[in-house]
Amino acid sequence: MQTSGKLKWLWLVIGAAAMLVLPQFVTSSFAIDIFIRILLFSFIGVAWNLMGGYAKQLSLGHAAYFGLGAYTSTIMQVNYGISPWIGMIAGGVVAMLASLPIGWLCFRLRGPYFTIATIATAQVLMLIFLKFRDFAWGAEGTTIPNLGSAPLMMQFEDKSSYYYVVLGLLVVGLWITHEIEKSWIGYYLVAIGEDEDAAEAVGVNAPKVKRDIYMISAFLTALAGTFYTQYIYFIDPATAFSFSVSIEAALVSIVGGIGTLWGPVIGTVLLETTSALLQSWLGSSVGGIQLTVYSLILMAVILWRPTGLIGFATDVYHRYVRRKPRAPEGRCDGGSIGRQGSQQAVRRPARGAGRQLHRAGERDGRADRAKRRRQDHELSFDHGISSPGLRICARLRP
């Protein structure tokens, strides 16, 4: 939604203040638990969204990094007594390193087969950790020793402290996404997501950009893994590498609005609230009801609102509140995906596009001058740029 700068800041400050004082007013541990779940899955969704949303590399294997983060910090804590705060960062680094070979393999495939390959890698890691009984406890898993109140070991007496930890994670995730979204790499990602070949043709180093964003996404997902293990005091391969983590990461982003800053958060709020309501109405006696409802929501979103709730809200806002030509200013919101988005993409003279991409390139110190000149030339030569993503590149404002 387009709001003026000042108003946006006002909303942000109000929202942040509300989130900060929330645990002071909500004392029910059930409610706090739901809030923690919402924040945690929002954060995982935000991490997934960086790669799955902006670059459209639809991974269903993020449980691999969730699990690696969880196991790294737990092994360091239980076997060597190292604080999970350090273990969290170490887990992130391990996940980043693991994403290199995994990405090397999986990025050879595109579209649905990339998705399948990512599922397979998460499964392989789960099987490997089932086999490692010596230092990873095999299938039985292990419990985290309860130290009572030990903030240095990421253990707290009250749930609200966990709430603040995961809130902090989410803020970091959103801030990183925001920085990436408005930088040249964000536009490169969207261009890759729209049409990888076309993006490469204008000089986007797609393999490198994808590798980098995959590393960032893996790092963040691993942080969530460490937090979750510390929160539930237990780890085993089935929870750490659970397929449902991979599913939920993708699900919340798609339902909320794929490739948007707030999409994963809004999607998680909807899905987790639905799930909590279902649980309180029906109890947990009926197995499978939660995922049945999730899948129905997902199907409805895909069939009727491929831009997710954010796209829906934006449409409504522009239709009833403020009529405005559909030109998201220098940022790519949900409008860029789906059939509607492609058709509505703004058409601008390609000369402008070349100039803008040139500017984007200038910020990328590593791109050499000659290459940029060639991009300029090619872009201004070709007036019919095929990909909306490239047009979004072109929309980058000075």
Binding site: A120, L127, T292
Partner: protein
Amino acid sequence: MWETLAQAVINGLLIGGIYALVSIGVTLIFGVVKIVNFAQGEFVMIGMYISFFLATQFGIDPLVSLVVSMPVLFLAGVLIQHFLIRRVLGPNDMPQIFLTFALSLLLLNLSLMLFSANYRTVHTFYSDEAWHIGGLYIPVAKLIAFAVAMALSGLLWVFLHTTDLGRAMRAASQNRDVAMLMGINPNRVFAVAFGTALALAGAAGSLLMPFYSAYPFVGQVFVLMAFVAVVMGTLGNVMGALVASLMMGVAESLGIQFVGADSGLIVVFALLLLTLAFRPSGLGARRGR
């Protein structure tokens, strides 16, 4: 030693026949409609439940219930293609992947709600029968399943190569645009391809019933194997999927025999990752769209 090896290979080939039915379905849909059906395994599961209920309610042998499960799933496939898949066909991957994925989640969890997570088996008079040839042990139920699976694959091959509709499907899979220009009706071809693929999955379910338990998650076992086989064989190639499925069956069986009882899948995934690492051109040459 050699006997153990031969036995493992035979076990692998027999189950590989079932994998073949599933992966031929996946590859057929991919070839013609250009989407990956993540829900393929769930249709195997539905086929199994159809056979299970026909067997327990009406005493119909699972192999006979093939004549029910295949048409029912063919019809289901046509309807799903018409009402769901048709709406997301386009250059964008995201809706296609997540629509079939949502369908898979939906069917899996619906069956969990309706049938509970219990394992259900059907005992037939041939379920425990086995032939002993030399030192080798060949279970009859699996042999029948393998034979019928191969026969169905053969029938599909004949259908694709001799009938007009089959030729239209192959044409659509080779070059969709040109096929449309030649006057092939895409909706009809897509519907038949989707229906046929689901009918094969249903057949796999019925064939499995005499020697395998039905439970809501059973499809996952087969669909993972099918995806590996489809990636390893050439995408969209029926023959490639068949051969790769048999190979996967053997690889899994050898893994169970020589690496460890829980290592069948590791061997299969390792093969997939090795293929991706060293023969990416054969796999990535055709864009996964």
